[in-house]
Structure formats: C-alpha cells, structure tokens
C-alpha cells in the first residue's frame, strides 16, 4: 500500500471509529477479568427468591444453641431486645398512631434477608464468622420465636425462600407526589 493510500485508509478508519457508538464508550479498560470461583468469597448477597443461598442447613434447636452463645448478650433472651434491637414480637403494632414495634416478625418482608444480614454482619464483633449451618440455624430459631415456622422445621436453600413473612404485603413502592 502506498503511503497516500495508507493515510486515506487510516483516516477512513478513524472516521468510522468516531461514528460508531463504541467510540463514545472508550475507556482505559483496566478492569481485570475474574472467574466466578475467585469472586465467590465476596458474592454473599441473597436475593428475595433465594438466589445465592449456599448449601447447608440448620434446625430451630441448633439455632437456639448458637443464639445463646453468640447473639443473646446483645439481643436479649429469646430475642426480646436490650441492649440492642428487639427481634421478636410486635405483630399487629404497625397501623395506628402508637409507636410501632418493628421486628423480624412484625416488619421484615423476606426471610432471605435474615440469612443475608446475619451471615454478613453478625455477630457484631465477629461478622462473617458463622458457618452456613449456624446461620441457617439462627434464622430458623428466630423465625420460630416469631411463630412463623414450627419447631421441627429445617432451614436450607430450598425451604428458606418458601417462608412467607407476616408483613410480606406491607410495602408500597414510592411514587413521587402520591
């Protein structure tokens, strides 16, 4: 190719690049690809449909033991609260003008959120230390304390998303001006 032809071709390519939408999105492209296996340790969020729930399981009884050892000091016996958040009761306290009692049982719309939050953030001084079995157990125990599942139920990736929380229909998506 002569220099002249080369320059014409290069200029045309540059024009094409300018015209194509890809050009507008140019970036330094410094992100490094990562495999699902290598990011799994951080991918701890659980969707309301149960997406992301890990293998493992826990019973109400197993959860009670974990709760007594690792949660009770802050959340009280049987999750009754003090010094920190109350976890049990309050159902029926949401309407009206009296102060509401917002707990897992009275307010939380999804049981999956319980597993997500307990595993990522609790116990407060040692978050992300519970095994999946322990986390499932504590979730089962708290759901049972709130009268949501029977004492002989086991929580795992299949059963947890099927739990219907009492306040599941309690939320309205906000629209401005309404």
């Amino acid at each position: 190719m002569s220099m002249r032809k080369f320059l014409v071709a290069a200029a045309s390519a540059a024009l094409l690049a300018l015209a194509s939408p890809a050009f507008a999105q140019q970036s330094p492209n410094l992100g490094k690809p990562i495999s699902p296996e290598d990011l799994a340790s951080w991918d701890i969020s659980i969707g309301p449909d149960g997406a992301g729930l890990p293998p493992g399981s826990g019973t109400v009884k197993q959860g009670e033991a974990v709760f007594s050892a690792k949660c009770q000091a802050c959340h009280g016996e049987k999750g009754a609260g003090t010094p920190n958040d109350r976890l049990v009761g309050g159902q029926g306290s949401l309407p009206g003008d009296k102060p509401p009692v917002k707990t897992i049982g009275s307010y939380w719309p999804y049981a999956t959120t319980l597993f997500d939050y307990i595993r990522r953030a609790m116990p407060f001084n040692e978050s992300k230390s519970l095994t999946n079995d322990e986390a499932y157990g504590v979730v089962a125990y708290l759901l049972n304390l709130n009268g949501i599942i029977p004492e002989d139920e086991t929580m795992n990736a299949q059963s947890l998303p099927k739990v219907t929380m009492p306040n599941r229909e309690g939320f309205v998506v906000f629209t401005r001006g309404k």
Partner: protein
C-alpha cells in the same frame, strides 16, 4: 407628606424582614445611622504579642485554630459499640456551602474500617458480560468528574416528628446533612467496560466494612449520574466518609451512597437488603410502609440565628441558612419572621447547583420583640417544602425518615433562640 424612610420602603415581609439591598452601599448607611449614634466608643487598640514575635513553623497538614475547638461533630453510638451510629455537622458554626471534610456527618454500621488502599478491590459482576476487578491505581487512571453534592441521611431532622419540640439545636436536629465537592469515575464507564446484560435492571452496592452495608438502586441511576468517588474536597475521601472509594448517588438518601465500596452487582430486581426493607422505609398510619423512597425532597433550614446563637439586642441582622433538593436546583427560598403569616424572598448565594446545598440570606431588623423565624424552599420542579402539619397529614409522625418539614425557631425578647412548632 413626609417621605418614607429607606428602611420602610425595603420591608419584604412582617416583623422586620428587609430586602438584602439594605446591606449594600447606601441602604446600610441610611439604616445604620441611628444605631451608630448609640454605640460606645471602642477601647484603645493593643499591640498584641503575635504582632511582634515570629509565629509557628510550617507543618504538613493544617488544622483549624485552637480557638475553634468547639466547632466539632457530636455523636451517639449504639449500645456496646464505639463507631456504630452517627455524628452530626455543626451547621450553626459554619457558613458557605461546603462542609469541611473533617466535619462531614457520619453514619456507620460497624465503625470506620482501616482499609489498605493497595489491597482494596472494586468488583463489578452479576448480570454483566465480563466480571471485572479494579485496583485503586486502575481507577485513578480513568477520566474523572467533579460535582458538588449534598449527602443527607434519610433520618435527618427526624426529631421534628416528636410530639413536643425538643430543646435541641440545628446540629442535633439537622446535622445529618453535609455538602462536599466529590471527584471520581462515572459508574457508567465501568459498567460499559464490564458489558451490561439487558436483563440487568437493578444494582447492588456493598461496602467493605464489617457490616457489609448494602443497598439496591435502579440501573437508570447508575447510567445517569452515579459517581465512584476517590476525592472529597480535593483530597482523598476521608476514612469516615468511605476511604478509599465511595459511591455517590446525587440526591439519593445518604444510606445509599455506600462507603468503603467493594462490590457492584447487577441484578434483575432489588436484593431486598436489611437496610432497604427493615430500615429506610416509611411506615404510614395505615400500617403499610413506603419503600424505595430514594431522592430527598426539597428542604431548607435557618442556621443563623438558631439555638445557641443568641441574638444580641435589637438591630440589623443577617438571617442565613441552607436549602437543597434531591430533585434538582433550588428555585427560591422564602423567609418568615412572624410565624408564617408573611413571607419574603431570600437572596440565593451563587452558585446554585443541582443536588447541592444553596446558601440563602435575608436581612432582618429585629425590634427586640418576639419573633418566629422559618424558611420555606421551592425547587426547580415546583415542589414546595411542607409545613409540619402538612407532612404529618400526609405520612403521620411515625415514619422516621425523609422529614423535610419547615423548621421554626422562636426568638424571645432576651434574644434566646429555641426550637418550636409553629
């Protein structure tokens, strides 16, 4: 007929509110003449030691004067914790529109993590073509944008829902609001690099702190003005505000501007995290709760005078405060000195920016009698800040969050200012 004095012609509303023109040449002189006659003469001038002896040497990072120690955040922590809770900006001791970084309000759910920037990573994954990991060095090479934006906790001003007005000042009631210049990389640029799957409608943002604070927001916001911030007021983001990298969702409630950002996950729907279900939802009298209330509505507060800033005798004062809206620019601020009976237009200090605080100013000739000072903002969408009665009629008084009702400060005859409901 006797000619009206300058001050009479400058009244813009009842109980002494004057057009700001009185502060300009001519106006002030005309008004001030009488006052000046009453002033005792100043004491003879001293030649102080600092005028004669060399001052302090240089140092690497400057600090405020030791005489300004009272200009500090106040905080409350959850039982049994040191760094879980919130600290508040002392707006009564500041002026202008930028909050100094060391006085920016804080809300932390498990203390301030001590993050090594060399090992910090930002992961982008989920419904993308290529999951990607970025280092801080990587992010520093991308084209950056700066914008001045407020961040306000959704729980700010919640004290005004109390049945009786709390004996509290502007810091205690409204201190969970701050405004900085934020600089960083547009989230949309990084998402394009990862390749957005058309099924992605929501974004989960997660912090690297021990609580793993996480929130979901619609992908439209990510593609609009979401910013991955590396700098705050020109320097690296402060640890308390998300070092080494935080998310800024301009106008959205503070909790969503995830600090210590480690992960962005594209999803089909909201993740329904603890903070977007059990917290940061607005419980109505019906028992139903509003969810996904993202932008903060138009709002304003008077910072000067306010409780603790006693008005010292009759005379000419500047009333000033802050106004902001998560939906855009502030269009106007009105001020009342008679408990809302009459309102006058305040001057807006430039620059007036979208989703940033705007400083407003108004001249006031205090006659020494009782006064109730209020401010009312209107944003560029036409939204008018509601009264306390209007907001409670709309949502009850148990909602906790997004309290943008008009604040009233009562000025007593002795000049003391206090929080009242008017």
């Amino acid at each position: 007929m006797k000619e009206k004095s300058r001050s009479e012609t400058e009244h813009v509303a009842g109980n002494g509110l004057l057009h700001r023109r009185v502060f300009l040449a001519g106006g002030a002189a005309a008004m001030g003449a009488g006052v000046m006659a009453d002033q005792a003469a100043a004491a003879p001038l001293a030649v102080e030691s600092w005028m004669k002896i060399p001052g302090a040497p240089f140092n690497g990072y400057g600090q405020p004067s030791k005489y300004e120690e009272k200009v500090a955040r106040t905080w409350a922590s959850a039982p049994g914790t040191g760094g879980t809770g919130s600290s508040r900006t002392p707006h009564h001791l500041l002026n202008g529109m930028i909050t100094p970084s060391g006085l920016h309000y804080e809300r932390s759910h498990s203390g301030i993590p001590d993050i090594n920037p060399d090992t910090h990573r930002l992961l982008i994954h989920g419904l993308v073509k290529r999951p990607l990991v970025f280092t801080l060095d990587d992010l520093g090479r991308y084209p950056m944008e700066s914008r001045i934006a407020f961040v306000e906790c959704a729980g700010n001003s919640g004290a005004l829902f109390a049945k009786q007005p709390a004996p509290a000042n502007v810091q205690a009631i409204h201190g969970l609001l701050s405004c900085s210049e934020w600089t960083g990389v547009k989230l949309s640029v990084l998402l394009q690099e990862a390749g957005i799957d058309p099924a992605a409608k929501w974004v989960l943002a997660e912090g690297a702190d021990a609580s793993g604070m996480s929130r979901s927001f619609p992908i439209e916001k990510a593609l609009d003005d979401a910013l991955i911030c590396l700098y705050q007021n020109g320097e690296r983001v402060r640890p308390a505000n998300g070092y080494p990298v935080r998310l800024l969702l301009p106008g959205f409630e503070g909790n969503m501007n995830v600090k210590w950002l480690r992960r962005i996950k594209l999803t089909a729907g909201p993740t329904m995290t603890k903070d977007e279900t059990s917290k940061y939802t607005i419980l109505l009298p019906s028992g139903k709760a509003l969810q996904f209330v993202f932008p903060l509505e138009g709002k304003s507060i008077i910072t000067h005078p306010s409780p603790g800033l006693t008005v010292r005798g009759p005379g000419l004062y500047e009333i000033s405060g802050l106004a902001w809206s998560g939906y855009g620019k502030i269009a106007k601020v009105e001020v009342s000195a008679d408990g809302g009976k009459s309102w006058g237009l305040a001057a807006l200090q430039e620059p007036v920016l979208s989703k940033a605080v705007t400083r407003f100013r108004m001249a006031w000739q205090w006659d020494g009698g009782p006064a109730v000072l209020q401010s009312r903002s209107t944003d560029e969408t036409g939204y008018v800040q509601p009264s306390r009665t209007q907001l409670i009629e709309l949502r009850g008084d148990r909602g906790n969050y997004h309290n943008n009702m008009i604040q009233a400060w009562a000025v007593a005859g002795n000049g003391e200012v206090k929080n009242v409901y008017a």
